[in-house]
Assembly symmetry: C2
Homo-oligomer: 158 residues x 2
């Protein structure tokens, strides 16, 4: 699937630990960004991937492919200044899964949630649960690529 | 292998067709470049890859991974203005293989050759055959990423 249909929201009141369940720690380093394209590596406890995202908005082209962790580690030094760390939790939602991210380091205290959809219709019809905050989809400065480069924006989106 | 040890040369007097053998046509589109990192897709007749190169000089970090051709084609529109097409020929050399590239379109008439080595010692000890021209390794403007973006430099390197 080369198209990702996704919406992203701020989380100011995260679910309790028993709702979140066990999370998976990820490091993400942004290799290069140009125009509407970002290439990044993601390294988890046992796996690593190269991901390319292109385009803007709810529907983006996304290609993700697993690579050996050793190769990701060889690329990691080349992402200095363009990194973030987070723990990802998978919370079941009606009709899908909420991917909740608790950021670490300079982004400590920030939580976001992403939901992926099968169609733009399903995306448009989605009613966020009460614990979802303001929507961040396509808001300047709130993509992970931007957060990794420039940190958390001073002003929350309104 | 995450390290690529490679030297690149201009070819002004290409080998004859029987030396070159059958070539393989490739399209390369540069997804994004930042700092010393380039991410590109390469699409051949039956295969496609994402390649990330990082660092400068003879020894660079390189990670290449196959992806479905359909996914590469989905990313292709996002490389507009950062593309090149070439036919690659594989010519046996003492101790390795010369990868000879005949460029097409705006780069028509340009030929280069690359040789990959197992070690920096082997790279330094390499004596180019008579048909190799001036060395292009790490010369500004002559990387494929630069050729794809800005075309052939006005002045040949000296």
């Amino acid at each position: 699937m080369a198209v990702e249909i996704e919406r992203k929201f701020l989380v100011t009141d995260p679910p309790s630990e028993d709702v979140l369940g066990a999370g998976v720690p990820y490091r993400q380093g942004y290799l290069a960004g140009e125009g509407d394209v970002e290439a990044r590596i993601r390294i988890g406890p046992d796996d690593a991937w190269i991901t390319v995202k292109a385009g803007r908005g709810v529907s983006r082209t996304e290609v993700q492919v697993a690579i050996p962790v050793a190769e990701a580690e060889a690329l990691w030094p080349h992402t200095a200044g363009r990194r973030l760390e987070k723990v990802r939790f998978f919370v079941p939602l009606e009709g899908g899964t909420a991917e909740v991210d608790r950021y670490a380091d300079e982004l400590d205290g920030l939580w976001t949630v992403e939901v992926e959809f099968d169609s733009e219709e399903a995306s448009a019809a989605f009613t966020p649960p009460a614990w979802f905050g303001v929507e961040l989809t396509d808001i300047e400065g709130w993509s992970n690529a931007a957060l990794a480069r420039r940190g958390r924006p001073a002003d929350p989106p309104s």
